[in-house]
Symmetry: C2
Subunit: 495 residues, 2 copies
Amino acid sequence: MSKDESRKPKLSRRDVLRAMGVGAVTTLTPALTRAAENSTDSRKTEVVVVGAGFAGLTAARELVRSGRKVVVLEARDRVGGRVKAGKLAGHAVDVGGMWVGPTQTRVLEMIKEYGLHTRPQFEQGKDISELNGRRVMAEGEETGMDAETQAEYDRVVKELDRLCATVPPDQPWNTPDAEALDSMTLQDWLDSTTHNKIVRAFLEASMRVDFVAEPYQISFLYCLFYLRSGDNFEMLNGYKGAAQAFLVNETMHEVAMRMATEIKANIVLENPVRAISQDANGVTVSSDKGTWHADYAIVAVPLPLSVRIAYDPPLSPERDALAQHMPMGSVIKYLVAYEKPFWREQGLNGMTWSDLPPSAVICDVSPADGKPGILVGFFEAHNALRWTGKPREERKKVVIERLVEFFGSDAAHPIDYEDQDWPAEVWSRGCYGASMPPGIMTTIGRVIRQPHGRIHWAGTETAARWMGYVDGAIRSGDRAASDVLGAYQQSKTSA
Amino acid sequence: MSKDESRKPKLSRRDVLRAMGVGAVTTLTPALTRAAENSTDSRKTEVVVVGAGFAGLTAARELVRSGRKVVVLEARDRVGGRVKAGKLAGHAVDVGGMWVGPTQTRVLEMIKEYGLHTRPQFEQGKDISELNGRRVMAEGEETGMDAETQAEYDRVVKELDRLCATVPPDQPWNTPDAEALDSMTLQDWLDSTTHNKIVRAFLEASMRVDFVAEPYQISFLYCLFYLRSGDNFEMLNGYKGAAQAFLVNETMHEVAMRMATEIKANIVLENPVRAISQDANGVTVSSDKGTWHADYAIVAVPLPLSVRIAYDPPLSPERDALAQHMPMGSVIKYLVAYEKPFWREQGLNGMTWSDLPPSAVICDVSPADGKPGILVGFFEAHNALRWTGKPREERKKVVIERLVEFFGSDAAHPIDYEDQDWPAEVWSRGCYGASMPPGIMTTIGRVIRQPHGRIHWAGTETAARWMGYVDGAIRSGDRAASDVLGAYQQSKTSA
């Protein structure tokens, strides 16, 4: 957006129409239409939601369903946040959050509610593991470890799960031995728990995918909490029966589109919020397209970006420090299309596990009819930091070379390549979510959901269940909406 | 500042006068005076400097000395940044950066240039070390280790210094074995280097003070670079002959005041910068008191806060990620005044080393005549995160209790107490500086001084020499000014 636009507080009819264009919204609320037509720079509503990702849209939806007047202000030119649709060989694909697991009940409910469909992640055939310099193939998503390695792996994962189970997900700072667990990194724990190189390589690679951060960047207590929020290590890292069990046929992004369609609230796109002030009477939200007055605000943006809004009065030092100490994960997601899923003809299912760059995991996310064949993978953690901001063609070259190593020369001839450089996305500045390094959970972690006066926080980082996932984002939206409704109730009672 | 003020783009004569009130500035530049009187919301200059800490003031000073027109925009109601004056028992004291060492030649030159005076840090008498549950007293700043412990200490520090010397301070990412050193924490290195509990406790406590972060939060490579930027461990951590050798009689903050007095540039206080856009012709800087157009901008604010300004075009993903991954240190500085330095009568010099909360170090910073007696200490790292935002009286209670443990019941009767809660300071959000956790230096550390088009970076975090110190801030200002002058030169040549 040009500077001049950004200084001018007005909302054109085109803005509103474009905002509504995200779905089949047919009715504009007359109040906003008038506001827009009048080009006034101040508008009244009940709740302003900042951010139209899954958290913000869910919060807005729940509030609207409870009869509240809501405006959603979104910086991007689209809804969905870290869930985003792209085109690959003419097909709609998700270049952001995508998979669903059987215990992610909130997102599953929503997919069903909106009449959308899931299919299972493909895994018929053999996968390829290339860990610690050794390549093996195995059925489905098995890792092909020898018996001794498998026994050690089972032992380590059992210990991880045992520790996981000690974490109260709503209050991970109250985990037994929290301070000790929080003063070591995940890498420290792995190093002290097993010397088996294959087991270490597999767990490091898996958790590099979970956090899109290196295992030496993550607090072990935070790691345990994160795994616990999705049940345990295997639930997070598996495909079948686990967090990568299903894909949404119509794209996950379509769920966000349907939510935007449902809520008759006003969604204003391309409208970054710059400042939120509050007093005893309400909040004032200043954005590039003007100022809104409301009773409450829900800020539903990635946690580290939440402090780029100016607050008056300022945030507590703990909340500000929390945002400073929770950097976003680093990931670039790529999708590669082939005429057909040729690897299946070789008896391969397209799945790989690897400790070599750029990708710890790759798998086959072709549509049900296999037309075209699609492989998906990620530049994770440091590989993302090294490749972010570079020309797409350079990343494509590296990816294709790696795919040829895994799947042979047929992989050299894709019909399309798409990737999403999340650290370069100005309103996400990373993906999937923000993680805690050592020493944060036990000192200031407890403020993560504490409202700042009339400002409530949403976003997957604030979820206690499926934190970091779309399901967690939805749950955080539910919770923020419920908190605001509770605040209305309380003010009514005390009035 | 109230919301209304913050939305109104105007510069009153009072603003200018208040800005100039920081020193004995007698002349206002006519151009700005006219601009102010006209209450126009757009002004032209050559360079806008964002931030009037030591880095910003130095950059502005050097540019003014080179004949450039400069405006300094400062969010606070004062200059000095993380150097700040306070009052204690009627005396001016530094509640921010304070000490000077013999190799901090830039700040020493500046102190001399402005006719200010230093005195040595007091250390006549015995200090108290309380490490690993054992209290000993020793002369000066000695730690009173037994011979065996001392030998082990010497061995570990020698190894630390050896590694330090391998770091090229301008390019720490090119240190031999950089990736290995950057994938471990300082704590990992300490744990693997010595099992002596006293040595570990002393080094942990010392470096908790150096970084005001816990040793398990800091990349070991970053630690080596930081130590190297100030020569080595002992130069950073010692008093006599080292970084805590001298105090400025008139306060360190007075140096900032003199700089503000010298530069005839316009300093506008209470004026947060919100956005900077640029094109081929120059930069446009939007602030609460209006918009400035200039050829270049120098952003000289704490590195993590630099991304709270909106940039158009946006920052590179590497620069944004760097800011996300460099949280500010956490420290609350306190000063306690007594009628006299009573500890001296007990043969004590007021220095302590300790591994117990709230403070790893305390020392005597009384004025030369010992009237009053003043002890200074810090809530460091996690102790600061635990105590930030709390009422001052609660912190005072904890401090006085600890001082009584060290110095006896006389310590129970201070005549004054002052502290500065840096994480709560909205335009610093921590102190002294921002540090790197593992894995950042070797991936994106190299962008730390890379300009963003016409925007150059200053601030102590961008210094290669005395990074994190006032001296480093000054050097960063020198460098940024020189870079901008170089850019002028180059555009002249290429024009």
